[in-house]
């Protein structure tokens, strides 16, 4: 849904879900902007579900509507992808060039979203232990984990196996 909905809608949805105290954990499944662009470039179209660039840092949806304030950046040159959030963040050191790029914050273009952010109450967040390649005992699955991350366009420069 992060791919299909406008960020404003994702932010509102996150706001609604965060208002439910019973929800203690989120599993957010997202694809990198790199992958979304690749899908669009191939002419793949889904009826009623256009593939969008998505959030610059989809993991921030865990922290509520601030996601919408961190808009997706324009396409970058190869090797300039940001370090990924979430489960794959600890797998590989960030690219030296990408690590130095500050994340633009506070890009509040939408007054309504500012208001939504102000209403956000602190919420206890639980995050799952991120899977690490070295923690996966099965060799085949280990390769698949790495390949998956490559396919998502997150660490493709640092992980030679995906180009082998």
């Amino acid at each position: 849904m992060l791919t299909y909905l406008p960020l404003e809608d994702v932010a509102k949805l996150a706001d609604d879900v965060h208002a439910q105290a019973a929800i203690e954990s989120w599993i957010v499944d997202f694809s990198a902007p790199f992958l979304n662009r690749a899908v669009r470039a191939r002419g793949v179209k889904f009826k009623n579900a256009p593939v969008r660039d998505g959030a610059r840092d989809p993991g921030r949806v865990l922290r509520g509507p601030r996601l919408a304030l961190d808009r997706a950046p324009p396409p970058r040159r190869r090797g300039r992808e940001d370090r990924a959030p979430g489960p794959v963040a600890d797998l590989v050191p960030p690219h030296p060039g990408a690590a130095a790029a500050p994340r633009a914050r506070g890009l509040a273009h939408d007054v309504r979203l500012r208001a939504a952010r102000a209403r956000l109450k602190p919420q206890r967040l639980h995050t799952f232990n991120p899977p690490r390649v070295e923690d996966v005992e099965d060799a085949g699955l280990q390769s698949a984990v790495m390949l998956s991350q490559c396919a998502r366009g997150l660490y493709w420069l640092q992980m030679p196996p995906c180009h082998a």
Binding site: M1, Y4, L5, P6, E8, D9, K12, L13, V17, Q20, A22, I23, E24, S25, W26, I27, D29, A38, N48, P87, F128, N129, P131, L141, A144, V145, L147, S148, C150, A151, R152, C162, A164
Partner: protein, 114 residues
């Protein structure tokens, strides 16, 4: 490996990893799963789940109808409910329109949801 093959692997790994996340959450005590934008996901049917678990799927009405039709002969392994709703702000007029399809089993408002 071609891009298509990479995409296939990505899908497989994504499925396995999310399955494990869910199993971990359920083992920790979560008793309700809400799947927003569930699509044609069939985890309530194929995963080993406690019968007492409540699983709520939300997606567009056409998807829900298609899923109900295709899975009419199958039995989920937990309490399953489907809600037809458009979660986009523009189409829901402030509040999302929705209609519930109870599937099999009851829906519950649980203190621990995922």
């Amino acid at each position: 490996m071609t891009g298509a093959e990479q995409f296939e692997w990505m899908t497989v790994v994504r499925t396995v990893v999310i399955d494990r996340y869910l199993q971990e959450a359920i083992a920790r005590g979560v008793d309700t799963v809400v799947n927003l934008g569930a699509g044609l996901d069939t985890r309530p049917y194929r995963m080993t789940l406690p019968a007492s678990l409540s699983w709520v799927e939300v997606d567009m009405p056409k998807i829900v109808a298609l899923k109900e039709d295709r899975l009419a002969g199958e039995t989920p392994r937990c309490r399953l409910a489907r809600i037809a709703a458009d979660l986009s702000v523009g189409r829901r007029g402030g509040r999302r329109s929705r209609s519930a399809s109870p599937g099999r089993g009851a829906r519950s408002s649980s203190p621990r949801a995922c």
